[in-house]
């Protein structure tokens, strides 16, 4: 948008004609009708939009076209699967405590080499509000909000209680989100 | 054809008026009264009084009865239930006696004979005719009625206006 400096008149008494708001209504109608006719010609003939990217129809024709969400988008929470084949989660319970609808339920156990790991990690998909506090609370970057918004609907509520196997995603697939929360969201200067 | 319409409209208006009196709920009673006004407008139209018929619907059924409805709804006038709804024989007797007292002179003095009417002049009941009469012969009652309405309007405004501090 070009920045124009407009002089704004305040505290003026309107003339009778202006008080009836008819000129204002006509001005408003001119703007909407401009949009209407340009879009109408564009829908029919396409040439009205050439060179005017800000004029095109904003609708994304899902499911033929689709939208890639921005990096800050909070989709379904997923557990990060490290390179060694084990989840990064150490079952500390901070995400369970931070979750507002209390949809996470963890039972921890110890491995043979002394590492803690979640024996059972249950995330109730019917309760999750996608707020991202689990991601913020986690000290190990083990749970992140992916950009998955498609596979969230089921016909059966019992299928929406996600166990650990449903939640694990390899680390390479979540590189973008991990970089985001490292640099932009929870960096040192933002804490 | 005319007799059929007259019987229909007249019977309907009597039935609705009875409904307006008998109905226990005030809102139903008001709706019945609106229907009665409508039928009366139909009867006016049958007698070539088109302007009066249209004005009857516009003013009476359209505006005045709406104000009746407003008052009923705003004051939440309810049907009487329980102890208050028992029959009140003395009032009913009084109502029958006074209705009879009004009805008897009507029948004895006027009814029974078929009155001869003059043929209505052409242009009877049109806006031009009514307007001409109202503004020439009957100008004084017209102006007095409008002053009366003005007094009612001013009175209503004064009654409801709160003092501006």
């Amino acid at each position: 948008m070009a920045t124009k400096i407009k002089k704004i008149r305040r505290n003026v008494t309107l003339t009778l004609w202006e008080q009836s708001y008819v000129p204002e209504i006509l001005r408003g109608m001119y703007i909407t009708l401009e949009h209407f006719f340009i879009n109408l010609w564009g829908l029919i003939l396409e040439f009205a939009w050439s060179g005017r990217e800000d004029r095109k129809i904003a609708t994304v024709y899902y499911p033929e076209e689709s939208v890639t969400p921005p990096p800050a988008y909070r989709g379904r929470p997923v557990l990060v699967l490290g390179a060694d084949g084990n989840e990064k989660c150490v079952a500390c319970g901070l995400c369970e405590a931070a979750c507002p609808p209390q949809c996470i339920s963890i039972i921890g156990a110890e491995r043979a080499n002394g590492e803690r790991y979640p024996l059972r990690y249950t995330l109730d998909g019917t309760r999750c509000i996608f707020c991202g506090r689990c991601e913020e609370a986690c000290p190990k970057e083990a749970i992140v909000m992916s950009d998955d918004w498609r596979n969230l609907c089921e016909y059966d509520r019992s299928k929406m209680i996600y166990e650990k196997a449903d939640l694990l995603v390899p680390e390479e697939k979540l590189a973008g989100r991990l970089a985001f929360i490292r640099d932009k969201a929870f960096g040192k200067d933002r804490y | 054809m005319e007799i059929l319409m007259f019987n229909l409209l007249g019977g309907l208006s009597v039935a609705l008026a009875l409904g307006a009196i008998i109905s226990k709920r005030p809102v139903n009673s008001a709706i019945n009264l609106i229907g009665t006004m409508f039928c009366l407008a139909g009867l006016f139209a049958m007698q070539d009084a088109h302007l009066i018929a249209a004005l009857q619907v516009l003013v009476y059924a359209g505006a005045i009865m709406a104000l009746f409805l407003f008052v009923i709804m705003l004051l939440n006038v309810r049907e009487k239930v329980g102890a208050e709804s028992r029959r009140q024989p003395y009032w009913q007797l009084l109502a029958v006696v006074s209705a009879g007292a009004l009805f008897v002179p009507l029948v004895t003095l006027g009814g029974g004979k078929i009155l001869k009417f003059k043929e209505a002049a052409s242009g009877f009941g049109t806006t031009a005719a009514v307007g001409r009469l109202l503004y020439t012969d009957y100008i004084l009652p017209f102006e007095i009625a409008s002053v009366l309405l003005l007094a009612a309007l001013v009175g209503a405004v004064i009654l409801t206006k709160t003092k501006i501090r």
Binding site: T32, L40, R55 | R25, I31, I34, A54, L58, G62, F70
Partner: protein
């Protein structure tokens, strides 16, 4: 006798078929599509029949079928008769008001005089206002009979708004009635044969005032407070679903058409083409040689012109709806009583002076 009956039945079928069958569903589609195109988006265009989506026109059908199958309930504690009667009371006046609107002129077809209006009353304009004033009852009863506090308040507010603007609406037309010297809409259309006799030429302030009052009467945006789609759920018809809900919506759309038709008849010459009088049209189509077919063709052109003008006015109403924000309720009432009513009274005075002094030559 029977021919007159058949003719009247045909006219009634045409008028009501046009209103309910064509205009009401079409207006639902127009509202979605026009608003979408104005707001830089595509409207609803996914409903298809065997793979054909004709720019979303099937959505009206699918919406109607869906709403018919919805459960029709009456809320607990509500007045059953009033709850059922209110949508009818809202819809019927909007339809009945169309009976006095002439959608064509006088034509002689095979020796028979055809007047394209369902009922040629000599108090036509007053009849329309009388019948529209009954639509307020549907609103009040809908609000009251829902046993819901907020619906009740919405219904009362809507009714107060409608009654305020009815008064002003009647007064705005008086100047026009003085000018054309008749209350009958057929006579008013007849007198607009020439372009310079159209109502809009001399009475454009009356057009603006009447348009405002009519939109307020119909509770369209900007006078949308009773419905207030984004604030109250649905105002006075919150507790309605299924077929009754459709009746309220249809009443609103049919009244949009009625208002546009009235504006066309009073201000824009009805069925007349702008610079062509009726006689010129008939003789231009070969009236001397084939009078019947010329009259038939002129009748068709007249009806088509009327419909085109009504569509243009509907388009303007829809544009206003999607352009303006909503008035606040006290602004609505102040506008009605403090601006429109005095303005219409002053306009009557101006028209009187103009006619008496000869400035406005009467047709």
């Amino acid at each position: 006798m029977t021919l007159a009956l058949v003719e009247t039945a045909a006219k009634i079928a045409f008028v009501f078929g046009l209103n309910i069958g064509v205009f009401a569903p079409l207006l639902g589609w127009v509202e979605r599509k026009q608003s979408a195109v104005m707001q830089d988006r595509i409207g609803a265009d996914r409903a298809d029949v065997f793979g054909f989506t004709i720019i979303g026109l099937f959505h009206t059908m699918s919406d109607t079928i869906k709403l018919i199958f919805k459960e029709d309930f009456i809320p607990r504690g509500a007045d059953r008769i009033m709850h059922t009667a209110a949508p009818a009371l809202a819809l019927i006046p909007a339809l009945v008001a169309f009976t006095v609107i002439p959608f064509g002129g006088h034509y002689t077809l095979w020796g028979h005089n055809v007047n394209l209006v369902v009922a040629d009353l000599d108090v036509g304009a007053l009849f329309v206002f009388a019948i529209s004033s009954l639509a307020a009852y549907g609103v009040v009863l809908a609000g009251w009979s829902s046993n819901n506090n907020w619906s009740f308040l919405g219904g009362l507010r809507a009714a107060a708004q409608m009654f305020s603007y009815e008064v002003a609406m009647g007064l705005t037309i008086i100047g026009l009635v003085m000018f054309y010297q008749s209350l009958s809409l057929v006579t008013i259309v007849e007198k607009q044969n020439e372009f310079w006799h159209w109502g809009i030429i001399w009475h454009w302030p009356a057009f603006i005032l009447y348009f405002t009052c009519a939109i307020a009467e119909n509770k369209r945006i900007p006078f949308d407070v009773p419905e207030a789609e984004s604030e109250l759920v649905a105002g006075y018809f919150t507790e309605y679903s299924g077929m009754k809900f459709i009746m309220f919506w249809m009443a609103e759309f049919v009244e949009v058409v009625t208002i546009s038709a009235l504006c066309v008849v009073l201000f824009f010459g009805g069925h007349h083409l702008p610079f062509v009088t009726d006689a010129e049209l008939i003789s231009g189509l070969g009236g001397a040689l084939y009078p019947n077919f010329a009259n038939l063709a002129a009748m068709g052109i007249g009806i088509l012109t009327f419909i085109v003008k009504v569509i243009i006015l509907i388009f303007i109403q829809m544009t206003i709806r999607w352009t303006l924000p909503r008035f606040r309720y006290d602004q609505v009432m102040a506008l009605g009583w403090k601006l429109v009513l005095p303005a219409s009274l002053i306009w009557i005075f101006i028209v009187g002076v103009g006619i008496l002094s000869g400035i406005m030559p009467r047709p």
